[in-house]
């Protein structure tokens, strides 16, 4: 894809990124940071791509290292965020059930 198209996507994404979190309450700062942290774990895709076309051993081992690091980021990030958010949930669920 040409450079300007990629740049367009980049610029528009900045606005979306700012817009979606602009109204977050202080209570959710930590989970939001953690969730965003998990999302950049998608760098795993990049790690897979460069490893899949590695032409020598240096590139291969570096690539595999990147894959391990990126999967820790991605999987760990989402699981830890879920554990945090789990804490917010149960009481509401109970209340809803009672009201039913």
């Amino acid at each position: 894809m040409d450079a300007i198209a990629l740049l367009t996507i980049f610029v528009l994404s900045i606005f979306v990124g700012i817009e979606v979190v602009s109204k977050v309450s202080a209570i959710l700062h930590t989970p939001l940071m953690s969730g965003a942290n998990a999302i950049h774990g998608v760098v795993l895709v990049g790690a897979i791509l460069v490893t899949g076309k590695a032409t020598d051993n240096v590139q291969l081992y570096l690539g595999l290292t990147a894959i391990v690091l990126a999967s820790i980021n991605m999987v760990g990030g989402f699981v830890v965020t879920d554990r945090m958010l789990e804490m917010f949930k149960p009481k509401k669920a109970e209340k809803e059930e009672v009201s039913k």
Binding site: V20, V50, A70, M74, V80
Partner: protein, 463 residues
Amino acid sequence: MTPTWVRAAELAASVLFILALKGLSSPKSARRGNLLGALGATIATFVAFFYGEEFFGGPIQHLPEIMIAIAIGSIIGWIAAKRVQMTQMPQMVALFNGVGGGAAAVISVIEFLSAGNEETVASLTATIFTVVVGSVSFTGSLLTFAKLQELMTSRPVVIPLGRFITIGVAVGTVVTAVALVMNPSNTLLWLLLGLSLTLGILLVLPVGGADVPIVISLLNAFTGLSVAASGYVLGNVLLIVAGTLVGASGTLLTRMMAQAMGRPLTNTLFGAFKAKATTAAASTEDRPVKSASPDDVAIMLAYARKVIIVPGYGLAVAQAQNTIRELVELLVAKGIEVDYAIHPVAGRMPGHMNVLLAEANVPYDQLKEMDEINPEFPATDVALVVGANDVVNPAARDDKTAPIYGMPILNVDQAQQVVFLKRSMRPGFAGIENEVLFDPKTSLLFGDAKDSLTKVVSALKTL
């Protein structure tokens, strides 16, 4: 060409990431938002294997090794995330962020090694940007982990001439980066890598304990940007979208956190260079404090009309969340008005204390935010501070030389009586003396927060 269905799947993943961030911004939809993000990431990972001939020059190579590496990383991440205690959550996030930044840097190193000389200037610039920012994020995050885990001192570390060394390394990094773009060479790349890794350490060293969460958030945004840049290098739209989303929202989030602490960002990062050494002149031992027994505290609480609890990190470390809830239930049963005052950065990160108390089933409506509760302190009989220190330190309000000056605090010093449950006279995370401790209306109950609270609860029951 990359198959159309792969690109369609990437579009779906991008939308899921946006919905994830949107969902995470509101308590009702937060958990679903996170799951949507996880779904997006799973889809993205799955389709990465199907980029086709154009990208891999044939079918994807090294498939078994790649699968094994993913499995190893996933298992490590899963176990770490499941095992970590809620109190240690902030450093876990820092660690995950660091490895993400490291991955982005490594990817760019590989790109450089495989195509350094043939890349366009724009692409080369993006590659080198990722190496620098990813490396800074990597070592910076590892250092914040060490600080929060208390593997090293959490106080600002100021090395002699530190400011000049940092500036020197920063300039060296930029110069090397520019030289690399003009004249790609492997030697320069390794030099740049070393400089960037050092820079990450130098930038985080002088940051004081209480400000570390803001730095984690900032490094999180950095990693996002480096992921976006590596997306540009690889011509991968999904990485650009996901990385930029995190970079932009992370930057805004960092600003909001800094605002919650009343500290401009530059102050957070470079404050330690300006601040004088603030070790209290009077040594703590020779200043009188009033200590109290659990029975005294129980009586004080039982005859109060209004009590405000100020929970801090010490409460969480002692795992005393359930005991404090029990205490509050007893007091409420006696007809005493009780609220929890939650400082925006109570715990180790903004919102951390809310998570910890929610875990202990403390009802939401008893949790009052700082602005709401502060006017109520003068009408409060007892302010019970459990394992908190910096967030109630009036130095932040009154002492312009204090490193935490300007941070909004809970005004416990305005309550009729103040009770501190503390382990020792050791100053708080920011490492500064708290004058309230020496106030005549203050009583201190020394000991582990959980032990002390248990004793107070049993004393209350016998009253």
